[in-house]
């Protein structure tokens, strides 16, 4: 019975407070980078220290209140909790500024601890497992397609635009932004050969690139449909 009460407490006030803290921290971290708010940097620094104290207090409270302390410390979220505060605690004196920042990002994962998220992540995981082998192979086919297109466009455009299509890694960047249809416009073929080559690989390639997305979406909707049937 004590466990039940504990869990309802977990779902209730503490969970909401924890998530509010994480969101506040994200907002703080984001505003900290805006140049026009640089005058408030001192305030941001103080607030950041306060957040570190809060997260540390929360970790100690959780270890203390856990029904099985060892289990919590060794669980995934226990590890996340520790990792999200440990580097910052250590860095108070030793590590450089950049390292602190990157470590703080891990605090974001705390949001995944909520019940709703866990359920959705399990569903996504199940959908992923169902189409795992197809997904893996298609990702590989996509990589081969990207590489093949990059090599092709390199041969067609290197002479006409030696500064843009300067190497195959550069051409791979073009291939990625083109096949994902992002199309920034920083690199595009200008020769007739390069454009005909792009047209051919694009019409075939778009279908290939869209397949992994389609597979996950279709698998997810099948799982959701089955769930709705089971409820009936």
């Amino acid at each position: 019975m004590k466990k039940k009460m504990n869990r309802s407490f977990e779902k209730g006030a503490l969970a909401i407070i924890t998530q509010a803290f994480v969101l506040s921290f994200i907002v703080l971290y984001t505003l900290d980078t805006v140049p026009s708010l640089s005058e408030y940097r001192r305030l941001f620094f103080t607030l950041d220290k306060a957040f570190l104290a809060l997260f540390t207090a929360e970790y100690i409270l959780r270890v203390w209140s856990a029904p099985d302390r060892r289990k919590y410390v060794l669980s995934f979220y226990g590890a996340v909790d520790l990792v999200s505060i440990l580097p910052s605690l250590c860095s108070l004196g030793f590590l450089n500024f950049q390292a602190i920042r990157l470590a703080r990002l891990m605090r974001l994962f705390k949001i995944f601890k909520s019940k709703t998220f866990s359920s959705a992540l399990q569903k996504l995981q199940l959908a992923f497992i169902q189409v795992r082998s197809e997904l893996f192979v298609f990702m590989f086919i996509v990589f081969i397609l990207l590489y093949f297109s990059a090599v092709g466009i390199y041969h067609f455009e290197h002479e006409a635009q030696p500064d843009k299509f300067s190497s195959i890694p550069q051409s791979l960047w073009w291939a990625l932004t083109t096949f994902t249809t992002v199309g920034y416009g920083d690199m595009y073929p200008i020769t007739a050969g390069g454009r005909i080559f792009t047209s051919c690989v694009l019409l075939i390639g778009l279908a290939i690139v869209a397949i992994p997305t389609g597979l996950i979406a279709s698998s997810l909707s099948t799982i959701s449909a089955k769930e709705r049937e089971n409820i009936k």
Copy 2:
């Protein structure tokens, strides 16, 4: 029987006239902003006043002819009708020009009053409710993905392009236009690290971003298929 006649009248002449007025108003409002047509602004102003009179007359007519006047006034579309004329009426003397314009936009919602639209909106609403929980969680995952990508690209590109990737909110704009594959070309990574990071998050992220769309579309087509089966 009076109610039936009233409803058929609602579907018939008056509904068509109302929608024709709304469409004409939209055309008028749109043309009013075109600089090359500024010589006709006086005409547009007069026509706009005429529309205001028409919409007001329509509202009075509807209240007068409604079987249950109170129900109509308190209904969603009754409120829409009132809101679409009230600010304009008030602004004849008091409010500024900008406020009038924004209020007029609400008149657009009158189109949703048509029978066909209500049915389609109900279907869309049903599809939305079916995948509500998945949708909500995936939107959240999308937000986390966008934020994570923005933070990552900020760290990779801030030094190379301090004017473009100047802050995390700026980088969030890049993340949004990239993951929705819009790719305006106003911001794009130029460092090797930034491009490799983009490639990694893009290939994984595109699938995640496309899932909410896929879920709604699949849910809608399931509902439509069931409807067709029921008719048979």
Copy 3:
């Protein structure tokens, strides 16, 4: 029996020759516009006259060989055949050059006369009819969404970029290229308000814009699946 022979002849040699002529004509028409090939324009002009003679001869042959001449002349493809040669014939003396060109384009529709195409078009038509009402309403919702976004972005960006977001029709062009994720990069929001507004409408809007496409694709694949089951 005569009819059968006629139809097999139709499917066979004549059909292939006709389609080869149409394709040759398209290639000729396309090359005619390339500036670097302007020296061959005289040749193109002669070849074009030859094609006109060929298409005219084909039309006369078809009328003459049809089992029911009146039926052929009044059929859709009979009309297409006539329309594809009549303006060109008339223009030998009277119409201007531009008009001839546009008329020639109708000859393209001849390709739809092939058996395989008719079957696929019927399937597409069936898929379209099945989701007709949803499609119609969603196209309308898409239009409202585009208009609403255009009005919104006009209010946010007009002052900052009066030459780019100069009017609502201009902003509609931005809305179209953004919601279809084309993103040319000729117009994009630069103010914080405009970017936040774009982010909000884009994340909701993309799902709406993608629904009509998803509906047709899903309806088509259902029809194809049923066909495969019927064959078994």
Copy 4:
């Protein structure tokens, strides 16, 4: 029994070594084009010769160890093996540099020899065969749509932008990058007519262009669902 041992050997050590060699070769070939690594070109040249020797040795070993030598030499992958080394062998003295490079690319296909890939390719092939006829026809409709759009935009934009929309082949490039929603931004309509035309064909065309992708994805997910049911 000898055959079984042979096959397990094929799946095991040799296969992993072969694929490791192919991947190393791709990395080498890619780095060879990076301008900033030009000082290592001599090393890359030596390594390339080593890879040629390795691939030749592998081919000889495979012919020698095959249960049925003639069958292996005449099989698809036997031919790929030969083609991937023969041009390079010949070019030691006779062919030019460019030709060697392009021949090397065929070595990439060796990756498709792995068991996992063959199974996924078979599934993709099955999905392709199921929607073959629809796919073929829709690709044709897509081509007609692209051509029609290119001709249309050429007539609308040629006068306003004679250097960008200079010919129909140039306009075809615009049509391709627009309908695939890549939208580089190198060519876009600026006239009111061109933009209205683009809006009309884009809203209809996007659905058409997305159908082939949707058909393959839907066919693939049906095949995967059937397979999962058979396992149960």
